[in-house]
Symmetry: C2
Subunit: 218 residues, 2 copies
């Protein structure tokens, strides 16, 4: 379906996707009906099927676009340097920034894999694995270079991703901490978790931390 950028059709489709992510995050995919979604967007149910012939097409689109967006963001953020600490810091910054801006689609992507058909689940998991592999490569390179000290690259990657994505559960903009402050603290935690040598990472990141945060936070 070729569409002009910013056409009415494209705007409607974007509105559908946004409303769907919100409804699924609120009620769950299985409980959301296309009728309910149409009412939320303010269109006829039949109009939805023009964009998404089945409800699962819609779910798959949300998940695919989430992973494509995350992958594209990381391609942009990925530093050219081979330095594992700089690459890890970029990965953490990008991961937190991307997810904190997309609470609903993150929620959908993490929770509703159970409702995808086998083939589509495989496609999403493949994209996810490719993205996580980037983190594992950074961790492995850092370990081989002797700048990280970790036991298990796979477990460390999972632990970091779950710790970082978990920010969306409790973070609310405009409360005690800014995104920048949260990211700085998560960077420090990450660098310690991977056993980064103190001269390198930890010192650099603690210098970047706003004054007085340590005392205030504890």
């Amino acid at each position: 379906m070729a569409r002009t950028t910013g056409s009415d059709g494209e705007k409607t489709e974007a509105a559908v996707r946004e409303a769907a992510a919100g409804l699924i995050a609120r009620y769950g995919y299985e409980a959301m009906s296309m009728r309910q979604l149409a009412a939320e967007v303010g269109v006829q149910a039949a109009a939805l099927y023009r964009y998404f012939p089945t409800k699962e097409d819609l779910l798959f689109t949300l998940m695919r676009e989430h992973m494509e967006g995350l992958t594209a963001a990381w391609e942009m953020a990925r530093p050219t340097t081979a330095d594992p600490e700089a690459r890890l810091a970029a990965y953490v910054r990008n991961h937190i920034a991307f997810h904190i801006e997309r609470r609903h689609s993150t929620h959908v992507s993490n929770m509703e894999l159970r409702s995808l058909s086998h083939d589509r689940l495989t496609r999403i998991l493949r994209m996810r694995t490719a993205y996580e592999k980037e983190l594992r490569a950074i961790l492995r390179d850092g370990t081989e270079a002797g700048v990280f000290s970790i036991e298990d690259t796979g477990l460390t990657a999972m632990a970091l991703i779950q710790m970082m994505t978990g920010v969306i559960v409790w973070f609310r903009p405009g409360e005690r901490l800014s995104v920048a402050e949260v990211t700085t603290t998560y960077l420090s935690m990450t660098m310690r978790l991977v056993g980064a040598k103190i001269e390198g990472a930890a010192a650099a990141y603690s210098a970047a931390r706003p004054f007085g945060r340590s005392a205030a936070g504890v």
Copy 2:
């Protein structure tokens, strides 16, 4: 409702709770019907209402029992020592062991807060806060004693809990790693993340790690 231990009624109620946790984990709370649940358990829908007058009573019971179980497990596991490292290690071990055994109810507890009424949500969040407060107290004591080095007690507690609970997302018994191996690696990561002094924690935990894990894992 006083019931004899192991009575038929109690067994049915336990079967209902287990089946409900499984169905909610699979389809989401809003999508699960009491009729579907009754069929799963093999009783009449009317029988369910004897135990759980409303669907939300059932959801609340699942969440309350999850938190009561977690709190009770921690009361049992909590060491008498004041040593922050020993207390943190006990917290990590208990948290992982408890959740890994209860994938479905963990899933329900984390995902379905959105469907609780305001008062019940408040009650569950209060239990959760009390449990997390135990971790924050350990982190604060360790920081004050100079054995931990962290920026923000609250953020560190959230990061650790999300990292640990995240184990249920990928861990499957009988695969590459045992619960004991996973726990050992998570203990090492935790101790590094909180900046525990190397002489104490890290050395002790790395000694406890099975030989060859480091090389095999990386």
